[in-house]
Amino acid sequence: MAKHHITATVNGDPVEFLCEPQETLLDALRDQLNLTGTKEGCSTGDCGACSVTVDDRLVCSCLMLGVEADGKSIHTIEGMAQGDELHPLQQKFLEHAALQCGICTPGFLVAAKALLDKKPDPSETEVRYWLAGNLCRCTGYDKIVRAVLDAAAELRGA
């Protein structure tokens, strides 16, 4: 099957790649652009490990086609830190030990950032429901929620 030529912006950088029509955005990011920070957990949009933002909208990249990325601005986990400086969410995840195996962490960080970009002062319940689309099997979510609330507080105060 003939591949499509896609032009997009990923983490602020212009990119081009070729992908087959049935390839997902997740496949394109991982296999064409070698951005393996975004993970595949289920490929049916149930686990959130593949979370990215597309034009500032949080999506499961396994539910979007690579060809749909044409002309869009995509942000992945690889674009979260600014040079040497981790984003407060990344820093708080480390301080709170909000990760054990770490496979769900990129998805949670992208999803949490999308929340705080929209709603800088969420309640615990709002955080839990926003993140209900991200599965974690290791932590029981306690430290993740604490980290997000703490990062939110820091971002508001900074």
């Binding site: 099957m1 087959e20 049935q22 991982r30 951005l35 393996t36 920070g37 975004t38 993970k39 595949e40 957990g41 289920c42 490929s43 049916t44 149930d46 686990c47 490990a49 992945t76 986990i77 690889e78 979260m80 830190a81 981790l86 990344q90 995840f93 480390l94 301080e95 709170h96 030990a97 990760l99 054990q100 195996c101 770490g102 496979i103 769900c104 962490t105 990129p106 960080l109 615990e124 319940t125 955080v127 839990r128 429901y129 993140l131 209900a132 689309g133 991200n134 599965l135 974690c136 099997r137 290791c138 932590t139 029981g140 979510y141 306690d142 430290k143 993740i144 929620v145 604490r146």
Partner: protein, 767 residues
């Protein structure tokens, strides 16, 4: 709220017990860390597995000729590409493995025994071509009747999975084969006499469903075999030396020819202690002469990797009016899936382990069924049997009018108690966890409408095992630590901390990695709550080795005997009568002259770590039951557990919280749902419902420390015990809220609602 209760002896550690950032953290929060599917080799092919559509069938023929003709297909493998194995148990490192079953589970030979059982595999240049090739493989099946349920499978007329399965442990040995692989019995005392003394006897039957470990990362590996037969595997695994042993065995290769590198692992919980894809990827790579990458889909994970057993459990406990238990019996029927080997043995040993009981008898059955072969899942066997026991104890407490914590205190096992499984306990923290539960604010907080509270305790062993560690002192005084037990959730932090504590150097001067099988002596896998205990013990030994050598080098320079120099505060100095004769040297200074004073300074430990000690827990759960929908919400949870010594408290808390979340899922929603056709109906996270963030409250933890005297820092493994109490804690809370005792898991809303309606009709419901 996270708390720590000390055992009364204050510990003066500089590093151990603090909460530094983990050394592998930056990579994990930036996406840099490489998990199983993140690794690729140039020229690699995509491997895919053809799986049985039937739960039970004989394989009459496999014809891959059309697939091989497809351009882009570079290799096809099936049963002929793996070495037939005898049925004797062979040591694979520390485990005794029946390789005859392993080779058949990896690739079916005579029969397929579950939907999803591998029958063939292909390697092709693209995933699309590999899938097309699978469609072209012709397999002729003779479909056979199947059996899914454990009790059904034990019936004499049940469809037979293995013609040569004669129940072991039965005297005289049965003459006809069956699906019961083994019968076992443990216990002590006189059970009949015990029940005669009892003033209250409660007997209940329980059922649990198979549940999956639910790791978010599917199985993944890349295998590459060179023309000279040297093979490399990159894989997400809990034990890469075990992977090496299994692959070498199944393929008939020398162990030394196979090198396995452990990727970062995205969850295992016991499910990644076995091989599925790796031998297949190696076989394909050898044939194709190119690297082969294989990644399971989520559907394949559910259909073809081991969940834990579903079971039928009967518990009968006899007590005196004052709450003292005088007799305890259980009968456990665990399903093993397609091949023998459910965790019924540890389940039997754990069932009554938290208690001091004079008369105990537990019988267990290991039963095969047409489901995927069961794999270990966090405290294998324990949560199931202890669910039954802790539920019946709750009923006994209620009937006798005794507080459920008091009942457990009355019967708690202590140091010197003869365990239900035989030996006497060393120091254990059962009483301490119960006292902490009793004293906790959670226990006293009033409940609201439709709410109930339950308490349950839990026990799991810990293991030690073969461990090798290497600790190099670099020329500038920094250190490189190489361990061999994959880090599933914070191990590297704890190892660094123990090394830093021993050596008196800052944490950031030690870089830790998990080495591959070519870099260290044998390491048994990460499991059995062993990695902090065993690799920690080995790290301490290696550090002491470095310190001793540092002393020796200084002694030579100072022309003193070796034992006249001591290690102190990150350096060495003359001791005793020679104190002050020479200025101390820092470890960095010693490192600088290592080359000239005898060569590199490297500490090694190669041990079979012994001295692991059990971890006990008591949990308190509050639930709220919706009377209209039957939904059970967990509104408050406190997990109290003995860690011996918490090296990094945050990661100990994390283990408690994670085990609790899995136990809650097991209690409330998770189950494998099969149709009458023997096919799995919910092989995905939408319908296999694990807890999500909105399902759970904050999970409070209390770390008790009753140090394990056999570990240099008193460590007990903590990873598995936390999953043991939740099912009973929640069932007890639901009984408290509703007046209905649930003996069948999961307590999903339709089941709860149905039971509530029935109880309401009888007038026995509380809501």
């Amino acid at each position: 709220m996270q708390e720590k209760v000390k055992d009364g002896q204050s510990s003066e550690f500089q590093v151990v017990g603090t909460r530094p950032l983990r050394p592998d953290g930056a990579d994990k929060v930036t996406g840099r860390a490489k998990f199983g599917a993140d690794f690729s080799l140039p020229g690699q092919l995509v491997g895919k597995v053809l799986r049985s559509p039937y739960p039970h069938a004989r394989i009459k023929s496999i014809d891959a000729s059309a697939a091989l003709k497809l351009p882009g297909v570079k290799a096809v493998v099936c049963r002929d590409d793996f070495v037939e194995q005898s049925s004797e148990f062979i040591p694979a490192g520390e485990m005794m493995i029946n390789y005859r079953d392993v080779v058949r589970n990896v690739m079916a030979r005579e029969k397929v025994l579950y939907e999803g059982h591998p029958v063939a595999a292909v390697a092709a240049t693209t995933a699309a071509l590999a899938k097309e090739a699978l469609r072209l493989i012709k397999v002729e099946y003779q479909v056979l009747p199947h059996v899914i349920d454990v009790v059904e499978a034990m019936r004499p007329d049940a469809p037979l999975l293995h013609e040569d399965m004669f129940t072991a442990g039965v005297e005289p040995a049965p003459k006809t084969p069956s699906n019961v692989a083994k019968r076992l019995e443990i216990g002590h005392g006189d059970i009949a006499a015990g029940f005669k003394q009892a003033e209250l006897v409660i007997e209940r039957e329980f059922t649990t469903k198979p549940v999956h470990q639910g790791y978010i990362e599917p199985h993944a590996c890349v295998a590459s075999v060179s023309e000279d037969g040297q093979a490399d595997v990159w894989v997400s695994t809990q034990g890469h030396w075990v992977v090496r042993a299994h692959c070498a065995r199944l393929l008939g290769w020398d162990i030394g020819k196979v090198r396995v590198t452990a990727a970062e692992i995205g969850g295992g919980f016991g499910g990644k202690t076995v091989v599925y894809l790796e031998p297949i990827a190696l076989a394909l790579s050898k044939k194709a002469r190119r690297p082969v990458k294989m990644v399971m889909t989520r559907e394949e994970v559910f259909k073809a990797s081991g969940p834990t057993s579903g079971a039928h459990v009967r518990v009968k406990i006899g007590a005196k009016k004052d709450g003292r238990i005088v007799a305890a019996e259980a009968e456990l029927k665990y399903q093993a899936g397609a091949f023998a080997g459910s965790p019924v043995q540890p389940g039997a040993m754990c069932a009554y382990a938290p208690y001091d009981i004079e008369n105990v008898k537990v019988i267990g059955y290991d039963v095969v069924t047409n489901r995927p072969k069961v794999a270990a899942y966090r405290a294998p066997g324990g949560p199931i049997s202890e669910f039954g026991v802790e539920s019946v104890l709750d009923e006994i407490a209620a009937k006798l009018g005794i507080d459920p914590i008091e009942l457990r205190l009355k019967n708690a096992a202590k140091q010197g108690t003869k365990a239900a499984y035989g030996p006497k306990f060393g120091p254990i923290g059962m009483v301490e966890t119960l006292e902490a539960a009793k004293a906790h604010a959670h226990w006293r907080t009033p409940l609201g409408k439709h709410q109930g509270r339950g308490v349950a305790s839990g026990f799991w062993f810990n293991i030690g095992g073969e461990t090798s560690v290497s600790l190099s002192l670099n020329e500038d005084g920094t250190l490189s630590l190489t361990a061999g037990t994959p880090d599933i959730g914070g191990l590297r932090a704890s190892l660094c901390m123990m090394a830093a504590e021993e050596l008196g150097v800052p944490l950031d001067k030690i870089r830790v990695q998990i080495g591959d099988t070519g870099q260290l002596g044998y390491n048994f896998l990460t499991g059995g709550s062993r990695s902090t205990f065993s690799s920690g013990m080995a790290t301490v030994e290696a550090a002491r080795d470095v310190m001793k050598e540092a002393c020796k080098r200084a002694a030579k320079l100072w022309e003193l005997p070796d034992d006249a120099v001591e290690y102190n505060n990150g350096g060495v100095r003359p001791a005793g009568p020679n104190a002050g004769k020479h200025a101390p040297m820092t470890l960095k200074e010693i490192a600088g002259i290592a080359g000239k004073t005898g060569g590199p300074i490297v500490g090694y430990a190669r041990i079979n770590a012994a001295g692991a000690a059990p971890s006990l827990a008591t949990h308190i759960a509050d639930v709220e039951v919706d009377p209209e929908t039957g939904k059970v919400s967990v509104i408050r949870y406190t997990a109290i557990q003995d860690a011996g010594r918490a090296i990094h408290p945050s990661y100990v808390e994390g283990q408690y919280q994670g085990g609790v979340a899995q136990g809650i899922g097991w209690a409330l929603n998770e189950e494998y749902i099969y149709g009458d056709d023997g096919k799995l109906q919910n092989p995905g996270f939408l319908d296999y419902r694990v807890p999500v963030a909105s399902d759970l409250p904050m999970i409070d933890t209390v770390i008790i420390e009753v140090p394990n005297p056999r570990h240099p820092y008193g460590v007990r493994g903590v990873g598995e015990t936390p999953i043991v109490p939740p099912m009973a804690a929640i069932a007890n809370a639901v009984a408290n809220a509703t007046g209905v005792r649930f003996t069948d898991l999961p307590m999903s809303p339709p089941r709860v609602l149905k039971a509530l309606d029935e109880a309401r009709a009888k007038g026995s419901a509380k809501l």
